[in-house]
Amino acid sequence: MSDHVIALRNVSRYYVMGEFIVKALDGVSVSIARGEFTSIMGPSGSGKSTMMNLIGCLDTPTDGQILIDGEDTSGMSEAELAFIRNQKVGFVFQQFNLLGKLTALENVVTPLLYAGYKPRERRRMAIDALERVGLADRMHHRPNELSGGQKQRVAIARALVNNPSILLADEPTGALDSRTGNQIMELFDEINSEGRTVILVTHDRELGLKAKRQIHLRDGKIEV
C-alpha cells in the first residue's frame, strides 16, 4: 500500500454556470501522507470545499486522477464511490448533519449498517466509538436533546466508527463557541496522534495553523 493515503494528480473541477465555466479547482496536484494532520485553507470561493468533496468522493473531477489509499477513483460507479465513502472516509460537517429522528447510537450505527455488519457487532462498535468521544452516557438521546459540542462528538464518532483511513472535517468548529471548538480540536489532535489522517477544511487562519501542515488554496490553485 502506498504511504500516501491521498494523491491528487492534476485534478480540475469545472462547473458550468450559464455561459461561464467556473474553474473551482484548476490542475491541482497534492499528496497527503498517512497519519498527517493537514488543513486546507483559503478564502471563500478558493476551491477548498470542492477539494474536500473530491477527496471525500462526493464529487468526481472534470479532469485528473484521485487516488484514495492507492486506489484510483476515476471511472468508479456511484455504488463504488459510496463504498469508498463508507470504508475509507469519515465526514464531519459544520452543521453536524446528524439524522434528527435517530438516537445518537442509531446515528453512529448507520454507516455500519451500510457496511453490512451484523446487529450485535454494529452495536458494540458504535458504543466503542461513542465511548471514544466521551458520549457513551448520551447514546439514547436524540440530536435535539444534545448540545452543539455533543452533537459534533456524535458526528465524530459516526465518522470514526468504520475505522476509515481519512477523517475529513469541514469547518467543524464553525457552529460552536470557542471553548467547545477548542475541545473538538483537541479531540482531532488525539485522533491524529493515534495515527489517523485528519484533514481540516477551514477559512479560519488561526484554526488552520493548529494542523501540522497547511495547504493554501486561492482561485482553484494551490498557493506556494
Partner: protein
C-alpha cells in the same frame, strides 16, 4: 437492513400522522371494498347454495312431460333401465303425487299425497318424530298405510300421537289409512314440502288413484363418489336420445347450485374489479406522499450518501417505506372490509364466509401498488446529487 428501513418508515409515519392517515385512506378504502365485495359475494353464493342443497345435492329429479303419458317409456321399467344405462346411479325412485284432502273425523286439511316405494325414506335420509317409514311388504300388498309430514300430523292430531290412528284420503272414506310414522319437520325442497305431505305406498297409490302405469316423477339418487353434475349431464344426454328435450324436465339442485355460484362469482368479480380501481387511485396518493417525503428529506438523503449509502440502498429505503405504507393500508383495509362484511351478512342473515383469497389478493395488490407507485420517488431519491442534497435547506 430491511428491519431498520421498516423502523424508519414507521418513524416517518409517526412524524406526520395526519398526512399519513390521509394518504393511506385511498388504499384502505380500496382494499376494504375489494375484501367486502368478495366476502359478501362468497357469503351470498354460499347461502344460496345452502338453500339449494336442502333439496339434496346428490339428487336429480326427472319429470316426464304430460305428452309422454302413453308412450310407455316412463313406466316402472324406466327405473331399472336408467340404472342400467347410466353410470353413477344408486337408486331410482318412482313417485306419483297429487293434492288431496285428508280427514280425521271432523278435522280436515289439504296436503300432497305422494306414492313412493318403501326405500324412499332411507334414500332421502328422512327422520321420524314417531314410528318409521312403511315396509316393502306394505307396498307389495298395497296396504293402506301412511307416513305423515309434521304439519299434517300437527293439524290432524294436535294433542296426541298420530301413529296407530287412521286417516282418510280424498274421499270421505272412514278412517281407512293406518298412520305408521310421522316425519320430523324438514326444510322444503324444490319438488315438495315434506311437512305438508302424506306418503303412501307406491302400489297403493297406483291402485287407488291412477289407472295407468305411468309415473309422475323419478327421484334419482347419485352413487356416493360420483359427481352429481356429471351424472345429471349423462341423464340429460340419455333422455334427449330417447324422448327428446321436450319429453321431460330434469331438476338437479347441484346444477342449480353451480349456476348460482357462477352468477354470484361473476358478479362479485366484476364489482371487485371496479373496487380495484380505487386501489390504483390510492396508489397515486402513495406516490404523492412519497415524493413529498423525498423532497422533505433531501438533506437526510445527502447525509446518508455521505456516510456510504449507495443508490440502491437509498432506493431500497424509500421503496420499503412505500411498501410499509401500502401494507399497513392493506391490513387496515382487510380489517375494515371484514367488519363491513360482518355487518352486511348479519343484516342479510347470511352466514359469513370470510374470503381468505381476497385477503391475499388485496395484500398482493397493495404490495404491487407500493412497488409500482413507490418506484419513481425511490429512484428519484437514489439519484440525488450528494453535494446538492447536503446543502439543501
Amino acid at each position: 437492513m430491511v428491519i431498520e428501513n421498516v423502523k424508519l418508515a414507521f418513524n416517518a409515519m409517526r412524524g406526520n400522522k395526519m398526512r399519513t392517515a390521509l394518504s393511506l385512506l385511498g388504499i384502505v378504502i380500496g382494499v376494504a371494498s375489494v375484501v367486502a365485495i368478495l366476502t359478501i359475494g362468497d357469503s351470498a353464493s354460499q347461502s344460496i347454495k345452502d338453500a339449494i342443497a336442502i333439496g339434496g345435492l346428490d339428487m336429480v329429479t326427472i319429470y316426464p312431460s304430460p305428452g309422454q303419458r302413453n308412450t310407455g317409456i316412463f313406466n316402472e321399467e324406466f327405473s331399472s333401465m336408467l340404472r342400467r344405462d347410466v353410470e353413477g346411479i344408486d337408486v331410482v325412485l318412482p313417485q306419483n303425487s297429487s293434492g288431496g284432502r285428508i280427514r280425521v273425523g271432523q278435522e280436515a286439511t289439504d296436503a300432497s299425497v305422494v306414492g313412493v316405494l318403501s326405500d324412499y325414506g332411507d334414500a332421502l335420509n328422512l327422520e321420524y318424530a314417531e314410528g318409521s317409514f312403511f315396509e316393502a311388504m306394505d307396498n307389495i300388498n298395497r296396504r293402506q298405510v301412511a307416513v305423515l309430514g309434521s304439519d299434517v300430523a300437527k293439524e290432524l292430531f294436535p294433542d296426541q300421537e298420530a301413529t296407530g290412528r287412521y286417516i282418510s284420503l280424498f274421499r270421505n272414506q272412514a278412517k281407512n289409512y293406518l298412520v305408521v310414522g310421522v316425519l320430523k319437520s324438514k326444510d322444503p325442497t324444490f319438488n315438495l314440502s315434506y311437512d305438508n305431505s302424506v306418503f303412501i305406498p307406491y302400489n297403493t297409490y297406483g291402485q287407488r288413484f291412477i289407472r295407468t302405469a305411468n309415473v309422475g316423477a323419478f327421484v334419482v339418487k347419485v352413487t356416493d363418489g360420483f359427481d352429481t353434475i356429471s351424472v345429471s349431464d349423462r341423464i340429460t344426454e340419455y333422455l334427449d336420445d330417447i324422448v327428446g328435450t321436450d319429453g321431460y324436465m330434469l331438476f338437479s339442485p347441484a346444477t342449480l347450485a353451480e349456476m348460482a355460484d357462477q352468477i354470484t362469482g361473476t358478479f362479485s368479480t366484476f364489482l371487485a374489479l371496479i373496487a380495484a380501481i380505487s386501489l390504483v387511485v390510492g396508489g397515486i396518493g402513495i406516490m404523492n406522499i412519497m415524493l413529498v417525503s423525498v423532497a422533505e428529506r433531501t438533506r437526510e438523503i445527502g447525509v446518508r450518501k455521505a456516510i456510504g449509502a449507495s443508490p440502491s440502498v437509498i432506493r431500497g429505503q424509500f421503496l420499503i417505506e412505500a411498501l410499509t405504507l401500502t401494507l399497513l393500508g392493506g391490513f387496515l383495509g382487510i380489517v375494515l372490509g371484514s367488519l363491513l362484511s360482518f355487518a352486511v351478512t348479519n343484516l342479510m342473515d347470511w352466514s359469513l364466509h370470510l374470503s381468505y383469497a381476497s385477503f391475499i389478493l388485496a395484500l398482493g395488490f397493495s404490495m404491487f401498488v407500493g412497488v409500482f407507485f413507490g418506484w419513481y420517488p425511490a429512484v428519484k431519491a437514489s439519484k440525488l446529487d450528494p453535494i446538492e442534497a447536503l446543502n439543501h435547506e
